[in-house]
Amino acid sequence: MQNFDKQWQTVAGHARQAPGRDETAPFGFARRAVALGWQPPALRSEVLWVRLTLRVLAGAVGVLIFCAALELPHFRDARPLEPGLENTVAQIVWAL
């Protein structure tokens, strides 16, 4: 281990002598960083809206998949999309 440490330090010493790369900021970098750094933080309501929207969307997709799974056994029936319940409104809508 000691020998490795010694050899490692020698290699690290050579590595430190490697020519350095360009360290000047690219054109426009400083202005961009300042603009982003001073950007007003998002409003609380905006953050909440984004979070809730995504969750509601995920929930809706879940409900859709659940309904499709329930409907799947009746897929080969004659009228698979007809409401199964004795629901007058639904039947009227279906008849239209």
Binding site: F4, W8, Q9, H14, R16, A18, A25, F29, V34, G37
Partner: protein
């Protein structure tokens, strides 16, 4: 290069008053310091400019947290911020791709041979290849180990300086460095055994 001639206090006062010129000047002044840290701890497939930008955005958003105290220059505070940002990026990065003997060039392989050999004559190859092989090996280490070795062995920081930059105790820094070098040795040995196996 960051020098002491720059009037940090005045520049920071102007930045706090939302002086755009002073803010751009501050970024340009600190860029070499930040980009050196970012390049030493850059996760694979990450763009150094993006990570440097993250550091500066954090600097501006957290500027109110910095309090000028004797012995705590602003550059140290920014360096610490840069180190933490890089460490977070390394932790969030994908799994480290495995390094194979075939990934190394002849020059890099010569340095790897030298690390494990009992010889004092260094390979007759460029310093750049030594740097590359070290970076290849460091990319295989966990983020904390990589950080401590980069700071101590490549940037020649003292245990105290590393401790200030990372917030780790001096003992923890020493222990991490010891364990990281042990991992490097095992890694170098396993790579070399791949080469021997390939030659059979």
């Amino acid at each position: 290069m960051v020098t002491d001639e720059f009037d940090w206090r005045e520049c920071l006062a102007r930045v706090r008053q939302r002086d755009e010129e002073a803010a751009a000047l501050l970024v340009a002044r600190l860029y070499p310091l930040v980009i050196r840290i970012v390049r030493s701890h850059l996760p694979r497939r990450a763009a150094e400019e993006d990570l440097a930008q993250d550091v500066f955005v954090k600097m501006f958003t957290r500027l109110d947290q910095y309090q000028a105290r004797p012995g705590t220059p602003f550059e140290h505070w920014v360096a610490r911020l840069a180190v933490r940002t890089c460490l977070d990026a390394l932790r969030a990065a994908d799994r480290r791709p495995e390094l194979r003997w075939g990934d190394l060039s002849e020059e890099q392989a010569a340095w790897l041979d030298f690390m494990l050999a009992d010889q004092s004559a260094t390979p007759d190859t460029s310093a750049g290849s030594a740097r590359e092989v070290i970076e290849q090996l460091l990319s295989q280490l966990p983020p904390d180990d990589r950080l401590v070795i980069s700071l101590m062995d490549l940037e020649e920081k003292t245990v105290r300086e590393v401790s200030e930059m990372t917030g780790w105790s001096g003992t923890l820094v020493k222990v991490r460095a010891f364990r990281a070098r042990r991992k490097l040795r095992k890694l170098a040995q396993s790579l070399l055994s791949q080469d021997r196996y390939a030659k059979l």
